[in-house]
Amino acid sequence: MSNVAAHADDRGHAHAHHPALQHHFDTMAQQKEAAVVGMWVFLLTEILFFGGLFAAYMVYRIWYFDAFAEASRSLSLFWGGLNTAVLIGSSLTMAMAVRCAQTNKRTATVNWLILTMILGAVFLGVKVIEYADKFEHHHVPGYNFQWAAAHEAPAAGEHAVAASEGAAAAEGHRELSLTPAQLQLTTQIYFSLYFTMTGLHALHMIIGIGIMLVITRMAYKGKFDQEYYTPVEMAGLYWHFVDIVWIFLFPLLYLVERHV
């Protein structure tokens, strides 16, 4: 039988297999290599998936730089910076979870995975605070979008004057090339990209936490050892990828032009 042949090692005699070794692989190393390359091919599709959004961001940022700079300044650097630190921290705990799985530490693997999920939840919680703030300030693109908040907006008569002189210049910023009416339209493009990019990133994090729930259960049941920890490693690759996306999103969305 071909199965028997496939199960024979280099020297031609059958030997005991790791229970996790699938019959279509010769060795655990070969099986892991197939999983790693396969996972990276999936991550390549993810890179290009987010790449399309980065390309759209790039073109609109060049076209409406002043609107992007204005809108970017309205984001909270505190929450954005905190979330960056939280996500980098969760990458560290994820790396530790994989390391503990590699070294046969079952309880530690479970604990590091739970800590990673908690940090992921903290990130999403901060995102909820930020999104709520956007709704409160009418910074959500669509019918109720209002760039200048009601309490900041000058009265109707002053508005026309401000429009000709540049409203932002009056607020102490450098003079913008855009009128308030144009800002009202173009900042919406920034916030459309903001919600699409951070929203899809958050969706990836929710999926990542879902994956980790399954992996944590498997780790708790003792499915992994130093010979077989591929699912933990794959969950790690996914989580680190989500971290990398945020590493780029943070300067692109929060730090467009902060020095004025």
Partner: protein, 101 residues
Amino acid sequence: MSGHVSPISLYITIFMALMVLTVATVGAAFVDLGQFNFLVAMIIAGFKATLVIWYFMHVKYASKLTKLTVATGIFFLAILLGLFLVDYGSKAFTQMPPFLS
């Protein structure tokens, strides 16, 4: 055949480096570098991403096939963004589309 096990100290070092670079990118954003603000931010982000890929994602210890796969992704991302710029850059760039000006 278990994979390469990195020392904990390495992971802590990478984590600290990522945190320092995060502070650096925020700090750099408050300095007026003109057009180079964007470039500096992207170089720092690229360096951070490289650290994560190389050490946290174990690509340093991965096979040549895996390394080639990762490089392919970055290559095609560069094509996507590069040709986007070529396409839009070679057309009439207007600060505002006609319906807004």
